[in-house]
Symmetry: C2
Subunit: 203 residues, 2 copies
DNA sequence: GTCTATAAACCGATAGAC
DNA sequence: GTCTATCGGTTTATAGAC
């Protein structure tokens, strides 16, 4: 939250607005977010938000861009080291598991965006998937994992299983609370998933 | 010439409003839907919508209730027959695959609801999951599937893999279009997933 | 750059004629 | 039961003072 004084600090103001906007957009989506609420959370006035970002659309784009940039500047985009197929699959699951855990705002905004009709891949996503596809195909060619299953199926299955664990955490807890299932920890789920996929892909 | 009363058709109007509301809520979520748009799609006036359903909240609840009721009155809630663990798992995946394919509005509304903060299970969901848990535990006790993996992990993994296939269909197609992966058909994905899970769960 | 005031459009909901 | 007209509130965005 910015200082109450009307001092001129355009860069600080912009950052505060982006921070506030990110939290509101992640929480409520594009349609549910209001510039007033973004202004309130960032300590600026509504018109000041629009002075710096021109429109709600442009602010949304700026928030998305900052998230992607800051993620790819971290170790987010790093490709795992080469190794056996088993190591690669293990790493693929672990990395994607950590991604969902560590980037909740990015994941929530992507989910809102998908429902709101935006199917375009986020920047950086492409490269990772090309790397996944290549690694799976090579492992199949070397005979380390079964080749009767499509690389796309492998990726979607793993991403889906990880995605749902984090996205439906509250929902799953509700089921456990109502008497279905015994709860399992994040670590146990990661272990179960990895073990199940590794065996499922054995030739 | 018909009496003016003859064109009054409260039941037909209610149905048309529920139809319109379902399509708008599924498309845009609760916050993004407007009563004016619902009125437009159902051929009624805005006030007539509120005359029949009192408020936007109540209309939303009525839409949800109708979806659940009509689903559970179909064969939706039917439990699969008993059999070997292999048959049960196969059926569990197939049924859940068909559910996502055949109930897009219900699935979209559940997704909007989750992002909007509603974690309560939908009516009917509970029973199915209790049945899943029971069947998996029994199969583990009989030694037909491995028992080092939690029944919750099995269910979440399967639901997640199915969920993402249908929810991210457009997104996946974008990836394929941009050069990652060769596309696979719905049937091929179902076959790959089933085969991978069955082998992954073998003792 | 930052504010207050306000425009113009749209929102959910109501009043009242028929 | 269905409509038109309209209320009070909120929305994004702009005008203009400082």
């Amino acid at each position: 939250m910015r200082d109450k004084r009307a001092i001129r600090d355009p860069e600080g103001t912009k950052k505060a607005i982006l921070d506030g906007a990110e939290s509101v957009f992640a929480e409520r989506g594009f349609a549910g977010a209001s510039i007033r609420e973004i202004a309130r959370r960032s300590g600026a006035s509504g018109p000041l938000v629009l002075f710096h970002f021109h429109s709600k659309d442009e602010l949304y784009r700026a928030v998305k861009e900052r998230i992607v940039t800051s993620w790819s500047e971290g170790k987010g985009g790093a490709m795992p080291p080469e190794g056996t197929a088993e190591n690669f699959i293990e790493d693929m699951i672990k990395t994607s598991f950590g991604f969902y855990r560590d980037n909740p705002n990015m994941v929530r905004m992507a989910n809102w965006g998908r429902l709101e009709g935006d199917d375009a891949p986020w920047s950086g996503e492409e490269d990772i998937h090309k790397w996944y596809e290549k690694s799976i195909k090579e492992a199949q060619a070397r005979g380390e994992i079964r080749d009767d299953i499509s690389p796309l199926s492998v990726t979607v299955m793993i991403c889906g299983a990880v995605h749902v664990w984090w996205e439906y955490h509250g929902h799953i807890e509700e089921h456990v609370k109502h008497g279905s299932y015994d709860m399992v920890s994040d670590e146990k789920y990661l272990k179960d998933l990895t073990s199940m996929v590794l065996r499922g892909l054995k030739p």
